[in-house]
Symmetry: C2
Amino acid sequence: MSHDQAVVKAILDGARAAGRASLNSTESKEVCDAYGIPVPKEGLATSSGEAAELAGSIGYPVVLKIVSKDILHKTDAGGVLTGLTTADEVVQGYEAICQSAREYKSDADITGVQVQQMLPAAQEVIVGAVTDPSFGKLVAFGLGGVLVEVLKDVTFRLAPASREDALSMIDGIQAAEVLRGVRGSDPVNREALAALIENVSTLIADFPEIHELDLNPVFATKDSVTAVDVRILLTKELPEPRPRPSQQEILASMVRIMKPKSVAVIGASGEEGKIGNSVMKNLINGGYKGEIYPVNPKADEILGHKCYKSVKDVSDAIDIAVFAIPAKFVAGALEEVGQKGIAGAVMIPSGFAEVGEIELQRDMVAVARKHNVRVMGPNIYGFYYTHENLCATFCTPYDVKGQAALSSQSGGVGMAIIGFSRSAKMGVSAIVGLGNKSDIDEDDLLTFFEQDDNTQVIAMHVEDLKDGRAFAEVAQRVSKQKPVVVLKAGRTAQGARAAASHTGALAGNDKVYDDVLRQSGVIRARTLNDMLQFARGLPVLPTPQGENIIIITGAGGSGVLLSDACFDNGLQLMSMPKDLDAAFRKFIPPFGAAGNPVDITGGEPPITYRNTIKLGLEDDRVHALILGYWHTIVTPPMVFAKLASEVVEEARAKGIHKPIVASLVGDVEVEEASEYLYDRGIVAYPYTTQLPVDVLGAKYRWARAAGLL
Amino acid sequence: MSHDQAVVKAILDGARAAGRASLNSTESKEVCDAYGIPVPKEGLATSSGEAAELAGSIGYPVVLKIVSKDILHKTDAGGVLTGLTTADEVVQGYEAICQSAREYKSDADITGVQVQQMLPAAQEVIVGAVTDPSFGKLVAFGLGGVLVEVLKDVTFRLAPASREDALSMIDGIQAAEVLRGVRGSDPVNREALAALIENVSTLIADFPEIHELDLNPVFATKDSVTAVDVRILLTKELPEPRPRPSQQEILASMVRIMKPKSVAVIGASGEEGKIGNSVMKNLINGGYKGEIYPVNPKADEILGHKCYKSVKDVSDAIDIAVFAIPAKFVAGALEEVGQKGIAGAVMIPSGFAEVGEIELQRDMVAVARKHNVRVMGPNIYGFYYTHENLCATFCTPYDVKGQAALSSQSGGVGMAIIGFSRSAKMGVSAIVGLGNKSDIDEDDLLTFFEQDDNTQVIAMHVEDLKDGRAFAEVAQRVSKQKPVVVLKAGRTAQGARAAASHTGALAGNDKVYDDVLRQSGVIRARTLNDMLQFARGLPVLPTPQGENIIIITGAGGSGVLLSDACFDNGLQLMSMPKDLDAAFRKFIPPFGAAGNPVDITGGEPPITYRNTIKLGLEDDRVHALILGYWHTIVTPPMVFAKLASEVVEEARAKGIHKPIVASLVGDVEVEEASEYLYDRGIVAYPYTTQLPVDVLGAKYRWARAAGLL
């Protein structure tokens, strides 16, 4: 579809020059025409003959409407006629409504009569566009009508949206079934509707000066789609583009910051209890192998390291400077850091925007920008990069190496990450505090972790995205390689948006986040604990090769609950092939239930678990296993854990890698057994049938979004 | 509203006598008339004069429809006229449609013309009734239209439903807002609609022979409601009523069973590894103080207790017999148990209905019924009643006394209860296996726990309710006194019901469970872990006295997540009174945020936590507190735990009892601190902001349903 940008530009420029905040109906329809957005055919007639001629070219039936600047309520004035089907009716109708109008208001200045295509009964939908403060231009789609307004059944995508995005919107609303045709009604023309959505999204992306747009209703039939009413609102002023370094520049800085060869500590201290002392100790005790340069004008040596009055006194190159001085001294020290050519400032101090000191923060960032120093924070605990033994933080050291990189906007959540990681023995590659996000934010981190071989999953606690558009773009790319998990806090705080358009009113903040994160391939965690469990579990599970899942359980009761959890997670229980069913039946007692779940029953010895798990692993048609273990004297927890691990190990030796999760119910020994299994690549939990399936569900969501399934 | 039962009975009897499975349109409307269910006014006219007269009495506008057994498609025959507004139009219309009919089919036998009230435009809703295999008669309500059919937005209540139930249905559907009037439209007449729902529910409750009923659509306006189309389906055969002892009889048996003075073990054994040996050991090692009578024809003494050949050889009374013999020997031994007047048989053996041996189970139950022996199981682990030190089970002994009674239908889930309880140090009063539920089921247990002073919360894992109606009735009563938590497994297995009616098709099994459980005041747990956490936490929390909740947090990030969790749980963050806000501000740094959450900021000393928690506890307007603790060096975890516990203790000394929950984020020391708090009545968890609020939410749901709020 080619788009006539020149036409639209001229209309928009004209309206803006006239100081208008919206387009009129004629302008709006011209804009639609220029972008291939179908609107009803229509024209203005100034005589009854002209009206009949117009009607003939439009095609019957038609609607006639009086056009007069003096008549606001056309219907009250008898100025509307619908369903006219012949030229005669149009001629008579023309005269009739002009007469009615004159009777209604004798001095009315009548411009003429609008002749409009009358559309057949159709499914009403809404297509719109909004400008989100964080994500920029978004296209929206929902069903029309009062009910949908009440149920808020609407979906958003970043504009411009692809045809595929548009189709996913049509399929993605709750009431999607209505569009596919119910109770014998025809389905709507999906391709035509998707094309319309795509064109709207291109329009708003091409013209940032369009602030909001409503096509409400759009009539959709099995043949066509038509935007019956169009409303286009203009923006008052275009936002300043956010300064973004190139991907290459970001990466160059981020590699120096995350894997520094040398670290300066601004405000290093030998005095117990000072932040500058904690940072020094963590660097040293954490086992960091690079150079450490304490900076403090009042000391010669701190904890065995030579101390400098300024970073400028250090002769060698420095990669990062960790700040441990009060906010008011930061700008001065940062100037020197900039002059020294240091790549990153880890800005631990608080006392900036979070306490209302917005100027102070702005000034600090200005100094950093001048010298191309990237700033992490301020108001953070610092960060960890375990594979360099780097603890650039005033918190406790953390050293369990692993493949999960985590970040948090809040310090409290950061501490929860550390505590959970230590307790669950979750290895991490990095833990990063982002705090006020004056500069470095989630997309910078993603750009680093994308190419960091030590990182296989990225989990982020996010309160707001300063630049949601940039985040979405980077996440879309990175999530193809590695799972990106986001805990979006404040999901229930509906933004109190001034809504001039219908679509605007529907764009509750969280719904937008939800849709855009999904569009970007991000796995959204509902709770803090989910985020932590996904970060722990996703790198452990191999990527599934298909959708066929089998539950093998010793407890029928667990089988039912595990099935519930599969349903919750959109996971498919494999419809069991006859031969496979027969193969399972060979191993289980006659009163056990094959089918899926495979219920091996409670009293079975280890060999039954072994045989059935082995069968599930080795059959090519099965892509993932969920195990339900029931603690019995015949097969105690650790016996089960060892045999399950062995079977998986044997399969791996044959090149079989399938995701396996397990729920263990029983007495406290199942806790040790779960840990044993987890350590060996089976994501296992005691006392819960939900969590293991939730983790598997997260892996599947990622694999699907990344196009691996 | 008086109901004319005689009229309905005559109609139903007539239809059933004629072997019909449904009522015809006239009968259906007569049934509606008899139960005060408004239907359109109508009558049959056999002359144009009569038609005009009828129309006059009905009120204009009216609809005319040809009535002829020879004309099936009235519209095709020109046999329908709508919107007639005068007597003249009716007279002419009568003649016109009779003529059209004769032209359409010259030999048509014309009975006359139906004159019908023409209803104004209205909101369409559906009211219906179904017969559920477990819950019996249910009344249903939903919005009409295709969209609602797709969204399945419908709600159910046990019939008969009260006026209050009916109103809760109108308010309880997702799209309830539509009925309250949106976009300037009028609200529907709630009272009239509720009356109609109530009448439908009474009708189906009065006449079990009505199997399903559809009023679809019902037209609802601001003035009135009218059932436009009525469909009544009759049942083929009435189900046998389930034999139920009286509440008094149930209680008499259950008290003897749960708190027995003496226990016989049928199949007791001295041989290690036998179930009869494990049961003996658990009774003895569990510390049971009553008499223990091992029964085994082949032994004289087992584990120091005199052994009997039969229970009949024991001279003293026996309360329960624990069975540890193979299924095939059960009936014989049970006969002797019955003759001995034993109250309950704890039927551990498997090999009954769960493996297809339905006859064997039926025979066993028949023996029990004959002698008035209540049977627990079969196919169970047994049960625990800790306050009598009773472990009537072959599993491990459990002895942590507390106030939570739990039951499970599945043995696996039972083992999860035991493991979790031991690990979380959750005191329990009882753990009961229900297995095949051949006799004793959840309502029997509820009847016992209702009056058991050792039990303050009841949590049940349920796969199916044999008699959902009885359960709901008992639960409704018991939940007024003590929280009843239910984990309904298999919630996603939609019953494949043969649906002859529209309402029937909408009655997915789980939706019915969800609505009826809520109507019964039951707190539904979504997952096994939720059930366990609710059982643990609910007795710990005092009952809230109002809806005003305050979050006090050291971590702003936790505050946001805790607010999200409040929204999820339908909890209200108190809108902070000015004076209280000012009072909080006195204690927190100037850059902290009062309002709600109260953000005391991270670096604060213990006194700030102390002052703010004390203020929240002592202000009468605040009803519950949610604490967000952030691990810092200034206020380490155990310091926080101790101070919070002290403040709560001080408040209790003053007679202040408010529910408090806490989320602790930080390094691993927060685990010990959480346990410390939990032990002292503050429901606290590490690394999660969701779970503490979920438990508080469950307490609120219960308190509201029990009418305490």
